[in-house]
């Protein structure tokens, strides 16, 4: 089998990519994509630890991953709706131009 | 030995499957043109070969030798990728469809149902990419329409599939075909078939749900900027999708490769032919609908899905749950 830490390193890399995208991109949709990448990395970890853990028959890792997927779906729906309604009123989706509260 | 079983056999089967499907596609175009002609009291293609049987070959030669044009402002890489991405899902769905007793097309995956659901989810990508990369307003509008349509109709389709799954009690399509059903199960299934067929029509962008490519509003929709062999690939994707979905419906609703009442159940080589016959009958339905039903408006299309199909599908699922719990 593939050693567990291969999966963990892969997940760490994806998480870092997501972190960079979420923090450094100006476009709100790109930042949202970064968050999705990070959630995926977490899911890889959950499932990998489940598979290599002691209680394979209890499936906790998979249950958690499914919950994460469902939350991600809800998050994307609301996030994109927010982005589109912001785009309607401000004509931009760049995060650093959305500074109404700065006065 | 290990490698032969692992690699060579699936590759050979895939190649055979692709050859059969491509031939099927070519003659489906002929079948459709002949039938449409009949519906409209015409004769249809009759110049190339007897009964126009060589017409598909003539069309293929024409498509291949056309000049390749790529729009200047197009996103080249994505533009070239899109036709391939449109075609691939239609082909790989076949991996789990059983074609004869104990012989799935490629592999007996025990999650066949989920595979179909998942692939149905990615079918819209080819169209979205085509519409985006062409950098043309008509293409983009066509792609937006089509992805909205596909996402919407995927919901009732998925709910119906879940209902069938509950009746079958397992994820494997092979065991779905092999397990005998009670008479009330068949009737209950067939009650749903017209609605399921409507969802399939919308998913494959077939008339009357061909709004993504309405000629009078959007030129040719997402494929406006495609010509020659690239257009032929989109065309191929649509028709192979028809064949594939017909095979899925034959498997889910009409016993797949089996003859009714278990006739000749031991003759394994008969399986593919029985399946093909059922597919041809179902394809006739597609063409019949195209010849007789007009195209709805876009808002009617959406309203029909969200206000009628989806509630009905959910109700159907609830009743199916009760039936499986109390009658089985």
């Amino acid at each position: 089998m593939v050693p567990l830490n291969w999966y963990l390193v892969l997940a760490a890399f994806i998480f870092s990519c997501g972190l960079y995208a979420a923090l450094a991109r100006r476009n709100a949709i790109a930042a949202l994509m970064g968050i999705e990448l990070m959630l995926n990395a977490v899911n890889i970890n959950l499932v990998a630890f489940w598979r290599y853990g002691e209680f394979v028959e209890r499936l906790e890792g998979q249950v958690f991953a499914l919950f994460v997927i469902a939350v991600a779906a809800a998050e994307v729906a609301v996030g994109l709706a927010l982005i589109i309604s912001v785009y309607r009123s401000r004509r931009t989706v760049n995060l650093d131009e959305l500074d109404l509260l700065q006065g | 030995m290990d490698w032969i079983n692992l690699l060579l056999l699936p590759v050979l089967r895939s190649v055979a499957l692709i050859v059969v499907l491509l031939t099927g596609f070519a003659y489906l175009t002929w079948y459709e043109r002949k039938l449409l002609a009949r519906f409209q009291v015409r004769i249809g293609p009759n110049r190339a070969g007897p009964y126009g049987l060589l017409q598909p070959i003539a069309d293929a030669v024409k498509a291949v030798f056309k000049e390749e044009i790529v729009p200047n402002m197009a996103d080249k890489a994505v533009y070239m990728l899109a036709p391939a991405l449109a075609l691939i899902p239609a082909l790989i769905i076949w991996a789990v469809i059983p074609v004869a007793k104990g012989v799935p097309a490629i592999a007996d995956v025990n999650i066949g149902f989920l595979w179909i659901l998942a692939i149905a989810g990615i079918e819209s990508y080819g169209i979205i990419l085509a519409g985006w990369s062409s950098n043309n307003n008509y293409s983009l509008l066509g792609a937006l329409r089509s992805s909205a349509q596909m996402i919407s109709y995927e919901l009732p389709l998925g709910v119906f599939l879940v209902s069938i799954l509950m009746l079958a009690g397992g994820f494997s399509l092979v065991s779905l075909v092999e397990t005998p059903r009670a008479w009330w199960e068949w009737i209950w299934l067939w009650l749903m078939f017209p609605l399921f067929f409507i969802c399939i029509l919308a998913e494959t962008n077939r008339s009357p749900f061909d709004l993504p490519e309405t000629e009078n509003e959007l030129v040719a929709g997402f494929q406006t900027e495609y010509g020659g062999i690239k257009f032929a690939l989109f065309f191929m994707a649509e028709y192979i999708n028809m064949i594939t979905t017909s095979a899925i419906m034959a498997t889910l609703f009409f016993g797949g490769y089996r003859l009714p009442f278990g006739l000749l159940g031991d003759v394994i080589w008969l399986g593919p032919f029985v399946l093909a016959a059922k597919v041809i009958i179902l394809l006739f339905l597609f063409i019949w609908v195209r010849a007789s039903v007009g195209r709805p408006r876009y808002d009617q299309l959406m309203q029909f899905n969200w206000k009628f199909l989806l509630p009905v599908a959910l109700g159907y699922m609830i009743i199916t749950t009760l039936l499986t719990v109390f009658l089985k």
Partner: protein, 175 residues
């Protein structure tokens, strides 16, 4: 082939080769998502990464999860994202750079995060082999049972959350 035994490192097994291919695909997708300046290419990279993660799930023998991943992430979430990109396409053809002024520091932090985490991870003695699994059909049945027994309350909460998100999204996106 006698020469192969003399290699300084063990030859990868078939599974390991598959893992490397899938990981390569996922990493490429993640890099495109993070770094490509064109927003639509980001979305395509994201799709590639999602597919890669589904492949990882298959390798981990969580087939149901893999299919859910394709169905929900690739089929729904990524499609929605491309949809949003098309609807806000006025932003696309970059007058300005695609990154903000935090770019350099974020890049350093992300790289450091990855390096430190990797350094930690490779030095732990993880279990080499997971236990044998029951068949995947049984596993899916168990999974379904867990959702309506042990995890009933979270499951119902999830349904509520999805409903609220649905209603909220419709309300927000309405004209």
């Amino acid at each position: 082939m006698p020469g192969l035994d003399a290699l300084p490192f063990p030859l990868p097994t078939v599974q390991q080769v598959i893992f490397i291919l899938i990981a390569g695909m996922t990493v490429t997708g993640a890099l495109i998502t993070a770094l490509a300046p064109n927003l639509f290419h980001n979305a395509l990279g994201l799709v590639l990464a999602f597919f890669g993660v589904a492949g990882v799930y298959v390798l981990l023998e969580a087939e149901f999860l893999a299919v859910s991943q394709v169905l929900i992430y690739v089929g729904a979430i990524a499609t929605l994202i491309t949809f949003a990109i098309m609807l806000t396409r006025g932003m696309m053809f970059g007058r300005t750079s695609s990154t903000n002024r935090l770019m350099l520091s974020t890049a350093i932090i992300s790289a450091l995060f990855f390096l430190v985490l990797t350094g930690l991870l490779v030095n732990v003695a993880w279990p080499e082999i997971g236990a044998e699994l029951a068949g995947s059909e049984q596993m899916i049945a168990d999974l379904g049972e867990m959702f309506v027994t042990t995890y009933l309350v979270p499951f119902e909460l999830m349904a509520l959350l999805l409903l609220a998100a649905l209603a909220g999204a419709i309300l927000l996106a309405r004209d």
